[in-house]
């Protein structure tokens, strides 16, 4: 069944004409029947057994009949869209619901058109520096996304106050937590409570919260229509659009730049692995946060507070 195979020769031909397809090596090939069909059969068998077992053990949920008059709190989308619902908490709905996913999918589809080298294709993380880039990307995406979520949900305040007021242990050590240093979040730093606090905890001048765009720029009256009056709320715009867009575009670029300067990422494949791994991790954190860490009113809570043990 196994075609007589000489010791696997290196299949790479460096320096040869850049060809798109590797040379066919019949000696290295196996017959689909039985070698591949067997593997597929076993995989299908394992999956069949797994899903039958799952179906016997766990029942699909069926709650009360739909009642449009009774909104559950929290109401959540299916789990694979909870990442978007999580984004929705932090930015303008149009961004979270439509623009970010669309741009994300388009960029994802465009990956092969950015990374056009075909070095080491078809092998797990085989390019030099592939592993470090993946790991760094994932760590940055994971930690960064959590930090942003915690910050925007004002939970750093809770942490700060718990450690400086609440816990006996911290009064003794470290020294800066000593009694006389115990305090609540300083009033003067209220604008650092969350991204939204930039809008609500700073005294924005009225000229900035209602810039009359419509009347000066959009002259609908010239078309014989009533004169449009759009008021541009600058602080809201900063909080809901400028900062989220800046973060979502800026941080990946910053990561790529740092990786480039430090020599971590040199080829396009390196940058792709770095950024896409960051994306995967960030996407995972958003999904997990939306699923397990959002309770009533979509407040950020510990999972055991979101799903209290049933009595």
């Amino acid at each position: 069944m196994v075609a007589e195979a000489p010791a696997p020769a290196s299949s790479r031909q460096r320096g040869a004409m850049p060809s798109v397809r590797p040379r066919r090596q019949r000696e290295e090939e196996l017959l689909v029947w039985p070698d591949l069909v067997f593997v597929e059969f076993i995989a299908a068998l394992i999956f069949t057994i797994t899903f039958v077992a799952l179906a016997i053990l766990i029942n699909a949920p069926l709650q009360d009949r739909a009642n449009p008059a009774n909104t559950p709190n929290p109401s959540k989308a299916p789990w694979y869209f909870l990442n978007l619902q999580e984004l929705l908490i932090h930015m303008h709905p149009a961004l979270a619901g439509v623009i970010v996913p669309t741009v994300f999918l388009v960029l994802l589809a465009a990956v092969p058109y950015f990374d056009t080298s075909n070095e080491e294709q078809g092998r797990w993380l085989a390019t030099p520096r592939a592993w470090p880039n993946m790991i760094v990307g994932m760590i940055v995406g994971f930690v960064g996304t959590w930090v942003l979520i915690v910050y925007d949900s004002s939970k750093h305040i809770v942490l700060y106050e718990r450690f400086s007021v609440g816990s006996e242990a911290f009064r003794v050590w470290p020294p800066f937590m000593a009694e006389e240093n115990v305090r609540t979040w300083p009033e003067t730093l209220n604008w650092l409570k969350s991204v939204r606090a930039l809008q609500t905890d700073i005294n924005w001048h009225n000229d900035l919260t209602g810039v009359p765009i419509g009347e000066t720029f959009i002259r609908t009256d010239l078309l014989g229509l009533p004169r449009g009056s759009i008021q541009w709320n600058v602080p809201a715009w900063i909080v809901e659009q400028a900062i989220p867009i800046g973060i979502m575009i800026g941080l990946p670029i910053l990561l790529s730049l740092v990786a480039w300067r430090t020599g971590l990422a040199r080829t396009r494949r390196d940058h792709m692995i770095l950024l896409i791994s960051g994306w995967f991790a960030s996407w995972l954190v958003l999904t997990v946060a939306g699923t397990y860490f959002r309770g009533a009113g979509l407040e950020l809570l510990w999972p055991w507070d979101v799903y209290p043990a049933e009595s």
Binding site: V32, Q121, G122
Partner: protein, 251 residues
């Protein structure tokens, strides 16, 4: 075939085998004998419409489980499983606001294996979302999207979207609180786009709120529109893998 030197048991197996395979019925179905010679093994793959999704030979590295973890194949397997269980579910389900929920209850309590049927369909649906995503990650980390497979990656992204939409449209059908509010929240997200959002949301749910129109739209998309689209793109996906000379491997 069987010689006198062979042990008794072997002779019986051989006789049974001869009886099974060397007759007009078997040959009319499979055209070839049992695939126990290289020639018949290749013919078995090449002459069978289902196995013919494969080439007749593959590179030895691609048979190793750790190369693909079978994830693409398992996504396809789950798609087939969902089709079978889905057709069975259609026997018991009427997509009307009045009946849908009661049908689900009846399915769970009055139909033999009804609960299990529903469970299988649901867990397979979640499973497919997961395997498709993992498959995408395996393709990414093996660098298998590189030329000439760029476009097959794009086809893959379309399949990912179709998978999510299939799952999303199915979510509404039980017409319980979970279904109703998940779809309300989900479609509101689309509706929040200031430019086309309202129009899109209106088209999706056929009104200003999730009701009978939304149910029939989601149902139709779920049972015929999206599966058909997914089947078409999967055909393209598989065809292109064959045309690109099988799975990617180093140049």
């Amino acid at each position: 075939m069987a010689t006198t030197e062979r042990p008794q048991g072997q002779a019986i197996v051989d006789r049974a085998y001869e009886f099974l395979v060397n007759n007009r019925v078997w040959k009319s179905i499979f055209r070839i004998g049992y695939p126990n010679t290289p020639r018949n093994q290749m013919l078995a793959v090449a002459t069978n419409v289902f196995l013919h999704l494969h080439p007749t030979r593959v590179h030895r590295t691609h048979v190793k489980i750790t190369h693909t973890y079978c994830l693409g194949g398992l996504s396809f397997f789950l798609f087939l499983g969902l089709t079978v269980t889905g057709v069975l579910l259609m026997f018991y389900y009427v997509p009307s606001v009045e009946r849908a929920y009661a049908d689900m209850q009846a399915l769970q309590t009055d139909v033999r294996f009804g609960m299990m049927l529903r469970n299988t369909h649901r867990w397979m649906a979640h499973g497919m979302v997961i395997t498709v995503m993992l498959h995408m990650m395996r393709v990414f980390y093996t660098g298998a999207y590189k030329p000439p497979r760029e476009f097959n990656w794009v086809v893959g992204v379309i399949l990912l979207v179709l998978t999510l939409l299939l799952s999303f449209t199915g979510y509404l059908l039980p017409w319980d609180e979970l279904a109703f509010w998940a779809i309300t929240v989900g479609t509101n997200m689309i509706g929040s786009d200031p430019i086309l959002g309202e129009v899109n949301q209106f088209v999706m749910i056929g009104g200003f709120e999730v009701g009978q129109n939304a149910l029939i739209r989601f149902y139709t998309l779920h049972v015929i529109g999206l599966p058909l689209a997914a089947a078409i793109f999967m055909s393209v996906h598989f065809w292109r893998i064959r045309r690109d000379g099988g799975l990617a491997r180093p140049l």
